[in-house]
Protein backbone atom coordinates (compact mmCIF):
# COMPACT_ATOMS: atom_id res chain seq x y z
CA UNK A 1 0.00 0.00 0.00
CA UNK A 2 2.89 2.34 0.89
CA UNK A 3 4.51 1.68 -2.46
CA UNK A 4 1.28 2.57 -4.25
CA UNK A 5 0.86 5.69 -2.15
CA UNK A 6 4.43 6.79 -2.89
CA UNK A 7 3.99 6.04 -6.59
CA UNK A 8 0.76 8.03 -6.63
CA UNK A 9 2.36 10.92 -4.77
CA UNK A 10 5.23 11.14 -7.28
CA UNK A 11 2.90 10.75 -10.25
CA UNK A 12 0.73 13.62 -9.00
CA UNK A 13 3.80 15.76 -8.34
CA UNK A 14 5.07 15.07 -11.88
CA UNK A 15 1.72 15.90 -13.46
CA UNK A 16 1.55 19.08 -11.37
CA UNK A 17 5.08 20.08 -12.48
CA UNK A 18 4.29 19.41 -16.16
CA UNK A 19 1.16 21.52 -15.80
CA UNK A 20 3.10 24.36 -14.18
CA UNK A 21 5.78 24.30 -16.89
CA UNK A 22 3.12 24.22 -19.64
CA UNK A 23 1.25 27.22 -18.19
CA UNK A 24 4.54 29.09 -17.65
CA UNK A 25 5.69 28.38 -21.23
CA UNK A 26 2.33 29.38 -22.72
CA UNK A 27 2.31 32.61 -20.69
CA UNK A 28 5.90 33.32 -21.78
CA UNK A 29 5.10 32.61 -25.43
CA UNK A 30 2.05 34.90 -25.37
CA UNK A 31 4.11 37.67 -23.80
CA UNK A 32 6.43 37.57 -26.86
CA UNK A 33 3.64 39.04 -28.99
CA UNK A 34 2.21 41.79 -26.80
CA UNK A 35 3.81 45.17 -26.03
CA UNK A 36 5.86 46.55 -24.40
CA UNK A 37 8.84 45.02 -26.21
CA UNK A 38 12.22 45.43 -24.56
CA UNK A 39 14.37 45.58 -27.71
CA UNK A 40 17.60 46.25 -25.84
CA UNK A 41 17.09 43.07 -23.80
CA UNK A 42 16.14 41.10 -26.93
CA UNK A 43 19.32 42.31 -28.68
CA UNK A 44 21.45 41.47 -25.63
CA UNK A 45 20.11 37.93 -25.45
CA UNK A 46 20.42 37.43 -29.21
CA UNK A 47 24.12 38.19 -28.85
CA UNK A 48 24.44 35.86 -25.84
CA UNK A 49 22.58 32.98 -27.52
CA UNK A 50 23.78 33.47 -31.09
CA UNK A 51 27.17 35.11 -31.22
CA UNK A 52 28.75 33.60 -28.10
CA UNK A 53 27.52 30.08 -28.93
CA UNK A 54 28.95 30.24 -32.46
CA UNK A 55 32.45 28.83 -31.70
CA UNK A 56 31.22 25.77 -29.78
CA UNK A 57 28.46 25.03 -32.31
CA UNK A 58 30.87 25.42 -35.26
CA UNK A 59 33.43 23.13 -33.68
CA UNK A 60 30.82 20.48 -32.85
CA UNK A 61 29.38 20.61 -36.38
CA UNK A 62 32.82 20.38 -37.97
CA UNK A 63 33.70 17.22 -36.03
CA UNK A 64 30.22 15.76 -36.54
CA UNK A 65 30.59 16.15 -40.35
CA UNK A 66 34.07 14.66 -40.31
CA UNK A 67 32.98 11.68 -38.19
CA UNK A 68 29.90 10.90 -40.31
CA UNK A 69 31.96 11.00 -43.50
CA UNK A 70 34.51 8.62 -42.04
CA UNK A 71 31.99 6.21 -40.47
CA UNK A 72 29.71 6.19 -43.52
CA UNK A 73 32.66 5.48 -45.80
CA UNK A 74 33.83 2.56 -43.62
CA UNK A 75 30.32 1.09 -43.36
CA UNK A 76 29.25 1.67 -46.96
CA UNK A 77 32.46 0.14 -48.38
CA UNK A 78 31.12 -3.22 -47.20
CA UNK A 79 28.23 -2.85 -49.69
CA UNK A 80 30.23 -1.03 -52.38
CA UNK A 81 28.05 2.02 -51.69
CA UNK A 82 30.79 4.47 -50.73
CA UNK A 83 29.58 6.81 -53.48
CA UNK A 84 26.64 7.77 -51.25
CA UNK A 85 28.84 9.33 -48.55
CA UNK A 86 28.17 12.93 -49.65
CA UNK A 87 24.40 12.34 -49.70
CA UNK A 88 24.38 10.70 -46.27
CA UNK A 89 26.53 13.43 -44.77
CA UNK A 90 24.39 16.29 -46.01
CA UNK A 91 21.05 14.65 -45.10
CA UNK A 92 22.28 13.59 -41.66
CA UNK A 93 23.66 17.03 -40.91
CA UNK A 94 20.72 19.03 -42.24
CA UNK A 95 17.96 16.85 -40.81
CA UNK A 96 19.37 15.59 -37.53
CA UNK A 97 22.88 16.19 -36.35
CA UNK A 98 23.03 19.91 -37.12
CA UNK A 99 19.85 20.81 -35.20
CA UNK A 100 20.31 18.28 -32.37
CA UNK A 101 24.01 18.92 -31.70
CA UNK A 102 23.56 22.68 -31.98
CA UNK A 103 20.42 22.44 -29.78
CA UNK A 104 22.19 20.43 -27.09
CA UNK A 105 25.30 22.59 -27.13
CA UNK A 106 23.31 25.82 -26.89
CA UNK A 107 21.12 24.25 -24.20
CA UNK A 108 24.18 23.37 -22.12
CA UNK A 109 25.53 26.90 -22.45
CA UNK A 110 22.42 29.05 -22.40
CA UNK A 111 19.74 27.21 -20.41
CA UNK A 112 22.02 26.95 -17.38
CA UNK A 113 23.01 30.61 -17.71
CA UNK A 114 19.35 31.70 -17.92
CA UNK A 115 18.39 29.65 -14.84
CA UNK A 116 21.38 30.97 -12.87
CA UNK A 117 20.77 34.59 -13.86
CA UNK A 118 17.04 34.59 -13.13
CA UNK A 119 17.55 32.50 -9.97
CA UNK A 120 20.08 35.04 -8.68
CA UNK A 121 17.71 37.88 -9.58
CA UNK A 122 14.97 36.18 -7.59
CA UNK A 123 17.22 35.65 -4.56
CA UNK A 124 18.34 39.29 -4.60
CA UNK A 125 14.76 40.65 -4.93
CA UNK A 126 15.36 41.97 -8.46
CA UNK A 127 12.21 40.25 -9.75
CA UNK A 128 10.16 41.84 -6.94
CA UNK A 129 11.82 45.15 -7.85
CA UNK A 130 10.57 44.76 -11.44
CA UNK A 131 7.04 44.12 -10.16
CA UNK A 132 7.11 47.19 -7.93
CA UNK A 133 8.33 49.29 -10.89
CA UNK A 134 5.21 48.16 -12.74
CA UNK A 135 7.19 46.00 -15.17
CA UNK A 136 5.82 42.55 -16.00
CA UNK A 137 8.70 40.12 -15.27
CA UNK A 138 7.41 37.84 -18.05
CA UNK A 139 7.74 40.60 -20.63
CA UNK A 140 11.11 41.78 -19.37
CA UNK A 141 12.80 38.50 -18.44
CA UNK A 142 11.07 35.64 -20.24
CA UNK A 143 9.94 37.09 -23.60
CA UNK A 144 13.36 38.48 -24.68
CA UNK A 145 15.04 35.15 -23.90
CA UNK A 146 12.36 33.17 -25.74
CA UNK A 147 12.52 35.46 -28.78
CA UNK A 148 16.33 35.26 -28.80
CA UNK A 149 16.20 31.46 -28.52
CA UNK A 150 13.59 31.03 -31.27
CA UNK A 151 15.47 33.33 -33.68
CA UNK A 152 19.10 32.55 -32.96
CA UNK A 153 19.13 28.75 -32.66
CA UNK A 154 17.92 28.37 -36.30
CA UNK A 155 20.68 30.80 -37.32
CA UNK A 156 23.21 28.66 -35.44
CA UNK A 157 21.83 25.51 -37.04
CA UNK A 158 22.19 27.02 -40.51
CA UNK A 159 25.85 27.76 -39.73
CA UNK A 160 26.24 24.26 -38.25
CA UNK A 161 24.77 22.75 -41.44
CA UNK A 162 27.28 24.57 -43.62
CA UNK A 163 30.27 23.79 -41.40
CA UNK A 164 29.18 20.16 -40.90
CA UNK A 165 28.97 19.60 -44.65
CA UNK A 166 32.35 21.31 -45.02
CA UNK A 167 33.77 18.89 -42.40
CA UNK A 168 32.51 15.93 -44.41
CA UNK A 169 33.89 17.47 -47.60
CA UNK A 170 37.29 18.05 -45.96
CA UNK A 171 37.69 14.42 -44.83
CA UNK A 172 36.23 12.95 -48.01
CA UNK A 173 38.54 14.89 -50.34
CA UNK A 174 41.70 14.91 -48.25
CA UNK A 175 41.61 11.46 -46.61
CA UNK A 176 39.12 9.32 -48.57
CA UNK A 177 40.23 10.40 -52.07
CA UNK A 178 36.86 11.72 -53.30
CA UNK A 179 37.01 14.29 -56.07
CA UNK A 180 35.93 17.73 -54.88
CA UNK A 181 33.71 18.40 -57.90
CA UNK A 182 31.69 15.18 -57.72
CA UNK A 183 31.31 15.48 -53.92
CA UNK A 184 29.88 18.98 -54.21
CA UNK A 185 27.69 17.90 -57.14
CA UNK A 186 26.25 14.98 -55.21
CA UNK A 187 25.67 17.16 -52.13
CA UNK A 188 23.77 19.81 -54.06
CA UNK A 189 21.77 17.34 -56.18
CA UNK A 190 20.53 15.23 -53.28
CA UNK A 191 19.76 17.99 -50.79
CA UNK A 192 16.08 18.93 -50.69
CA UNK A 193 14.57 22.09 -49.25
CA UNK A 194 12.58 20.08 -46.68
CA UNK A 195 15.85 18.70 -45.24
CA UNK A 196 17.05 22.18 -44.34
CA UNK A 197 13.63 23.63 -43.46
CA UNK A 198 12.78 20.77 -41.09
CA UNK A 199 16.10 21.33 -39.31
CA UNK A 200 15.46 25.05 -38.95
CA UNK A 201 11.91 24.51 -37.65
CA UNK A 202 13.27 22.02 -35.12
CA UNK A 203 15.90 24.54 -34.10
CA UNK A 204 13.26 27.16 -33.42
CA UNK A 205 11.38 24.73 -31.16
CA UNK A 206 14.64 23.82 -29.39
CA UNK A 207 15.36 27.52 -28.82
CA UNK A 208 11.92 27.97 -27.27
CA UNK A 209 12.30 24.81 -25.17
CA UNK A 210 15.69 25.69 -23.66
CA UNK A 211 14.70 29.27 -22.83
CA UNK A 212 11.36 28.16 -21.35
CA UNK A 213 13.02 25.55 -19.09
CA UNK A 214 15.82 27.95 -18.15
CA UNK A 215 13.39 30.72 -17.21
CA UNK A 216 11.02 28.36 -15.39
CA UNK A 217 13.72 26.82 -13.20
CA UNK A 218 15.20 30.27 -12.51
CA UNK A 219 11.81 31.70 -11.51
CA UNK A 220 11.05 28.80 -9.17
CA UNK A 221 14.57 28.28 -7.80
CA UNK A 222 14.96 27.92 -4.04
CA UNK A 223 16.83 30.59 -2.14
CA UNK A 224 20.58 30.44 -1.55
CA UNK A 225 23.53 29.25 -3.59
CA UNK A 226 22.36 25.63 -3.35
CA UNK A 227 18.90 26.52 -4.62
CA UNK A 228 20.27 28.40 -7.63
CA UNK A 229 22.75 25.57 -8.30
CA UNK A 230 19.95 22.99 -8.26
CA UNK A 231 17.84 25.19 -10.56
CA UNK A 232 20.73 25.35 -13.04
CA UNK A 233 21.18 21.58 -13.06
CA UNK A 234 17.44 20.95 -13.40
CA UNK A 235 17.21 23.45 -16.26
CA UNK A 236 19.96 21.73 -18.26
CA UNK A 237 18.63 18.21 -17.65
CA UNK A 238 15.02 19.15 -18.47
CA UNK A 239 16.05 21.17 -21.54
CA UNK A 240 18.18 18.32 -22.95
CA UNK A 241 15.33 15.84 -22.49
CA UNK A 242 12.95 18.38 -24.02
CA UNK A 243 15.20 18.86 -27.05
CA UNK A 244 15.44 15.11 -27.68
CA UNK A 245 11.70 14.55 -27.17
CA UNK A 246 10.85 17.43 -29.48
CA UNK A 247 13.33 16.08 -32.03
CA UNK A 248 11.46 12.78 -32.16
CA UNK A 249 8.03 14.44 -32.34
CA UNK A 250 9.04 16.86 -35.09
CA UNK A 251 10.82 14.13 -37.06
CA UNK A 252 7.61 12.11 -36.91
CA UNK A 253 5.64 15.15 -38.10
CA UNK A 254 8.00 15.93 -41.00
CA UNK A 255 9.07 12.49 -42.13
CA UNK A 256 6.79 9.96 -40.38
CA UNK A 257 4.48 7.73 -42.39
Amino acid sequence: MNVLATLGKYSLATVQEVGKISIFSAKGFMSCFSPPFYFKEIRRHMVVVGFYSLPIVALTALFAGMIIALQTYVGFTRFNAEGAVATVVVICIARELGPVFAGLMVTGRVSSAIAAEIGSMKVSDQIDALTTLGVDPFKFLVAPRMIAGMLMVPFLVLIADIIGVMGGFLISTSVLDFSAGSYINQTVQNLEAIDVISGLVKASFFGFCMSAFGCYHGFYSDVGAKGVGNATTSAVVASCIGVLALDYLLTAVFFGK
Binding site: M121, A129, T131, G134
Partner: protein
Protein backbone atom coordinates in the same frame (compact mmCIF):
# COMPACT_ATOMS: atom_id res chain seq x y z
CA UNK B 1 0.59 61.47 -0.09
CA UNK B 2 -1.59 58.50 0.75
CA UNK B 3 -3.48 56.97 3.63
CA UNK B 4 -2.86 53.26 4.20
CA UNK B 5 -5.18 50.95 6.13
CA UNK B 6 -4.30 47.36 7.12
CA UNK B 7 -7.47 45.56 8.17
CA UNK B 8 -7.04 42.22 10.00
CA UNK B 9 -4.31 41.06 7.60
CA UNK B 10 -3.48 37.36 7.83
CA UNK B 11 -0.89 35.49 5.77
CA UNK B 12 -0.31 31.77 5.86
CA UNK B 13 2.21 29.83 3.78
CA UNK B 14 1.49 26.33 2.47
CA UNK B 15 -1.76 26.36 4.44
CA UNK B 16 -0.05 25.92 7.81
CA UNK B 17 2.80 28.38 8.47
CA UNK B 18 1.04 31.48 9.79
CA UNK B 19 3.31 34.54 9.53
CA UNK B 20 0.79 37.37 9.95
CA UNK B 21 -1.98 36.82 12.45
CA UNK B 22 -4.48 39.65 12.11
CA UNK B 23 -2.52 42.87 11.62
CA UNK B 24 -4.62 46.05 11.80
CA UNK B 25 -3.04 49.47 11.38
CA UNK B 26 -3.82 52.90 9.95
CA UNK B 27 -1.03 55.06 8.54
CA UNK B 28 -1.96 58.71 8.00
CA UNK B 29 -1.15 60.80 4.94
CA UNK B 30 2.40 62.15 4.98
CA UNK B 31 3.33 60.16 8.08
CA UNK B 32 6.72 58.50 8.54
CA UNK B 33 5.75 55.18 10.07
CA UNK B 34 8.24 52.62 11.36
CA UNK B 35 7.42 48.94 11.70
CA UNK B 36 9.80 47.55 14.25
CA UNK B 37 10.30 43.93 15.16
CA UNK B 38 12.64 41.00 15.55
CA UNK B 39 14.03 39.11 12.59
CA UNK B 40 11.44 36.57 11.42
CA UNK B 41 8.62 38.56 13.03
CA UNK B 42 6.75 39.05 9.75
CA UNK B 43 7.88 42.58 8.81
CA UNK B 44 9.07 41.75 5.28
CA UNK B 45 6.00 39.57 4.61
CA UNK B 46 3.74 42.45 5.71
CA UNK B 47 5.51 44.78 3.27
CA UNK B 48 5.30 42.22 0.43
CA UNK B 49 1.57 41.93 1.13
CA UNK B 50 1.26 45.73 1.07
CA UNK B 51 3.08 45.90 -2.28
CA UNK B 52 0.86 43.19 -3.78
CA UNK B 53 3.82 40.83 -4.28
CA UNK B 54 2.20 38.29 -1.93
CA UNK B 55 -1.54 37.57 -1.86
CA UNK B 56 -3.35 37.94 1.47
CA UNK B 57 -4.83 34.86 3.12
CA UNK B 58 -7.42 36.97 4.97
CA UNK B 59 -8.16 40.65 5.57
CA UNK B 60 -7.50 43.63 3.33
CA UNK B 61 -5.10 46.50 2.71
CA UNK B 62 -6.30 49.74 1.16
CA UNK B 63 -4.36 52.75 -0.06
CA UNK B 64 -6.54 55.84 -0.55
CA UNK B 65 -9.50 53.48 -0.64
CA UNK B 66 -8.07 51.20 -3.34
CA UNK B 67 -7.86 47.59 -2.19
CA UNK B 68 -4.80 45.45 -2.88
CA UNK B 69 -7.30 42.74 -3.87
CA UNK B 70 -8.96 44.87 -6.56
CA UNK B 71 -7.47 43.31 -9.69
CA UNK B 72 -9.07 45.94 -11.99
CA UNK B 73 -7.22 48.76 -10.19
CA UNK B 74 -4.02 46.80 -9.55
CA UNK B 75 -1.88 49.04 -11.78
CA UNK B 76 -3.22 52.20 -10.15
CA UNK B 77 -2.56 50.65 -6.73
CA UNK B 78 0.99 49.53 -7.59
CA UNK B 79 1.93 52.92 -9.03
CA UNK B 80 1.49 54.51 -5.62
CA UNK B 81 4.54 52.69 -4.23
CA UNK B 82 8.25 52.67 -4.53
CA UNK B 83 10.54 50.56 -2.40
CA UNK B 84 14.14 50.64 -1.28
CA UNK B 85 14.94 46.94 -0.89
CA UNK B 86 17.12 45.59 1.90
CA UNK B 87 19.69 44.26 -0.58
CA UNK B 88 19.08 47.23 -2.93
CA UNK B 89 17.88 44.94 -5.78
CA UNK B 90 19.68 46.98 -8.43
CA UNK B 91 19.64 45.23 -11.81
CA UNK B 92 23.05 43.60 -12.30
CA UNK B 93 22.95 43.82 -16.09
CA UNK B 94 22.42 47.60 -16.09
CA UNK B 95 24.73 50.45 -15.16
CA UNK B 96 23.76 52.77 -12.30
CA UNK B 97 22.39 55.37 -14.71
CA UNK B 98 20.50 52.71 -16.69
CA UNK B 99 18.95 51.39 -13.46
CA UNK B 100 17.51 54.81 -12.63
CA UNK B 101 16.59 55.54 -16.26
CA UNK B 102 14.71 52.24 -16.42
CA UNK B 103 12.61 53.20 -13.39
CA UNK B 104 12.10 56.78 -14.60
CA UNK B 105 10.90 55.45 -17.97
CA UNK B 106 7.98 53.73 -16.22
CA UNK B 107 6.68 57.12 -15.10
CA UNK B 108 7.93 59.66 -17.64
CA UNK B 109 7.97 59.97 -21.43
CA UNK B 110 10.70 61.26 -23.73
CA UNK B 111 14.26 59.96 -23.90
CA UNK B 112 15.97 63.25 -23.01
CA UNK B 113 13.59 63.99 -20.18
CA UNK B 114 14.13 60.49 -18.73
CA UNK B 115 17.93 60.88 -18.84
CA UNK B 116 17.70 64.31 -17.19
CA UNK B 117 15.39 63.02 -14.45
CA UNK B 118 17.67 60.03 -13.79
CA UNK B 119 20.76 62.25 -13.54
CA UNK B 120 18.92 64.75 -11.34
CA UNK B 121 17.83 61.99 -8.90
CA UNK B 122 21.33 60.51 -8.80
CA UNK B 123 22.80 63.93 -8.03
CA UNK B 124 20.09 64.46 -5.39
CA UNK B 125 21.28 61.39 -3.46
CA UNK B 126 24.90 62.51 -3.67
CA UNK B 127 26.21 60.39 -6.54
CA UNK B 128 28.40 62.05 -9.12
CA UNK B 129 28.82 61.43 -12.85
CA UNK B 130 31.81 59.11 -12.34
CA UNK B 131 29.63 56.26 -11.07
CA UNK B 132 26.90 56.61 -13.71
CA UNK B 133 28.49 54.12 -16.11
CA UNK B 134 29.59 51.63 -13.47
CA UNK B 135 27.68 48.41 -12.73
CA UNK B 136 26.23 47.80 -9.24
CA UNK B 137 28.90 45.20 -8.46
CA UNK B 138 31.60 47.82 -9.08
CA UNK B 139 30.51 50.28 -6.36
CA UNK B 140 30.35 50.18 -2.55
CA UNK B 141 27.31 49.16 -0.48
CA UNK B 142 26.66 52.76 0.55
CA UNK B 143 26.73 53.93 -3.06
CA UNK B 144 24.43 51.07 -4.07
CA UNK B 145 21.99 52.17 -1.37
CA UNK B 146 22.08 55.75 -2.73
CA UNK B 147 21.54 54.49 -6.29
CA UNK B 148 18.62 52.33 -5.14
CA UNK B 149 17.13 55.37 -3.38
CA UNK B 150 17.55 57.42 -6.57
CA UNK B 151 15.74 54.68 -8.47
CA UNK B 152 12.95 54.61 -5.89
CA UNK B 153 12.35 58.39 -5.93
CA UNK B 154 12.56 58.62 -9.73
CA UNK B 155 9.11 57.00 -9.78
CA UNK B 156 7.77 59.97 -7.79
CA UNK B 157 5.58 57.71 -5.62
CA UNK B 158 2.90 58.57 -3.09
CA UNK B 159 4.30 56.00 -0.64
CA UNK B 160 7.98 55.21 -0.09
CA UNK B 161 8.86 51.93 1.58
CA UNK B 162 12.30 51.37 3.12
CA UNK B 163 13.16 47.77 3.94
CA UNK B 164 15.95 47.64 6.54
CA UNK B 165 17.63 50.71 5.04
CA UNK B 166 20.85 50.50 7.08
CA UNK B 167 21.37 46.74 7.16
CA UNK B 168 24.78 45.62 5.95
CA UNK B 169 26.24 49.12 6.26
CA UNK B 170 28.89 50.29 8.73
CA UNK B 171 27.63 52.72 11.43
CA UNK B 172 29.08 55.80 9.69
CA UNK B 173 27.60 54.98 6.27
CA UNK B 174 24.38 53.86 7.99
CA UNK B 175 24.15 57.27 9.66
CA UNK B 176 24.76 59.08 6.38
CA UNK B 177 22.05 57.01 4.67
CA UNK B 178 19.62 57.67 7.55
CA UNK B 179 20.16 61.44 7.19
CA UNK B 180 19.73 61.14 3.44
CA UNK B 181 16.45 59.23 3.88
CA UNK B 182 15.13 61.82 6.33
CA UNK B 183 16.07 64.70 4.01
CA UNK B 184 14.55 62.92 1.02
CA UNK B 185 11.30 62.15 2.83
CA UNK B 186 11.00 65.74 4.08
CA UNK B 187 11.68 67.21 0.65
CA UNK B 188 9.19 64.90 -1.10
CA UNK B 189 6.55 65.02 1.65
CA UNK B 190 5.38 61.49 0.93
CA UNK B 191 3.96 58.83 3.24
CA UNK B 192 6.81 56.59 4.36
CA UNK B 193 6.92 53.10 5.82
CA UNK B 194 10.25 51.85 7.14
CA UNK B 195 10.80 48.37 8.45
CA UNK B 196 13.73 47.87 10.73
CA UNK B 197 14.94 46.16 13.88
CA UNK B 198 17.23 49.09 14.69
CA UNK B 199 15.80 51.26 17.50
CA UNK B 200 18.09 54.21 16.68
CA UNK B 201 16.89 54.25 13.08
CA UNK B 202 13.29 54.00 14.32
CA UNK B 203 13.64 56.90 16.77
CA UNK B 204 15.42 59.04 14.18
CA UNK B 205 13.03 58.56 11.27
CA UNK B 206 9.64 57.91 12.87
CA UNK B 207 6.57 60.00 13.48
CA UNK B 208 4.86 56.86 14.77
CA UNK B 209 6.10 53.35 15.47
CA UNK B 210 4.38 49.96 15.37
CA UNK B 211 5.91 46.90 16.97
CA UNK B 212 5.31 43.61 15.22
CA UNK B 213 5.93 40.40 17.11
CA UNK B 214 5.08 36.89 15.87
CA UNK B 215 2.70 38.27 13.26
CA UNK B 216 0.77 40.53 15.67
CA UNK B 217 1.02 44.31 16.25
CA UNK B 218 1.81 44.54 19.96
CA UNK B 219 2.05 48.32 20.22
CA UNK B 220 1.50 51.40 18.05
CA UNK B 221 2.22 54.93 19.13
CA UNK B 222 4.35 58.04 18.81
CA UNK B 223 8.10 57.46 18.62
CA UNK B 224 8.62 59.76 21.65
CA UNK B 225 6.30 57.59 23.79
CA UNK B 226 7.99 54.32 22.91
CA UNK B 227 10.48 54.18 25.79
CA UNK B 228 7.82 54.63 28.48
CA UNK B 229 4.93 52.79 26.88
CA UNK B 230 4.88 50.02 29.50
CA UNK B 231 4.68 47.25 26.93
CA UNK B 232 6.75 44.23 27.92
CA UNK B 233 7.91 43.46 24.36
CA UNK B 234 9.01 47.07 23.83
CA UNK B 235 10.91 47.09 27.12
CA UNK B 236 12.61 43.81 26.22
CA UNK B 237 13.53 45.27 22.86
CA UNK B 238 15.18 48.25 24.56
CA UNK B 239 16.96 46.02 27.07
CA UNK B 240 18.25 43.77 24.28
CA UNK B 241 19.61 46.73 22.36
CA UNK B 242 21.68 47.74 25.40
CA UNK B 243 23.16 44.31 26.01
CA UNK B 244 26.95 44.43 26.12
CA UNK B 245 28.54 41.33 24.67
CA UNK B 246 30.86 39.49 27.09
CA UNK B 247 34.53 39.04 26.13
Amino acid sequence: MSEIVFNNVKKTFEGRIRVLNGVSLKIEQGESHIILGQSGGGKSVLIKCLLGILDLTEGDITVDGISVKDSRRKKEYMKKFSILFQGNALFDSMTILENVKFAAAQKHKGRKSIINIAKEKLHAVGLNDRVFDLYPAEISGGMQKRAALARAISLEPDVLVFDEPTSGLDPITGGVICNLLKDTVQSLGVTTITITHDLKVAEFLADRVSLLNKGVMVWTGRADDMRDCGNEFVENFYKASNVILRK
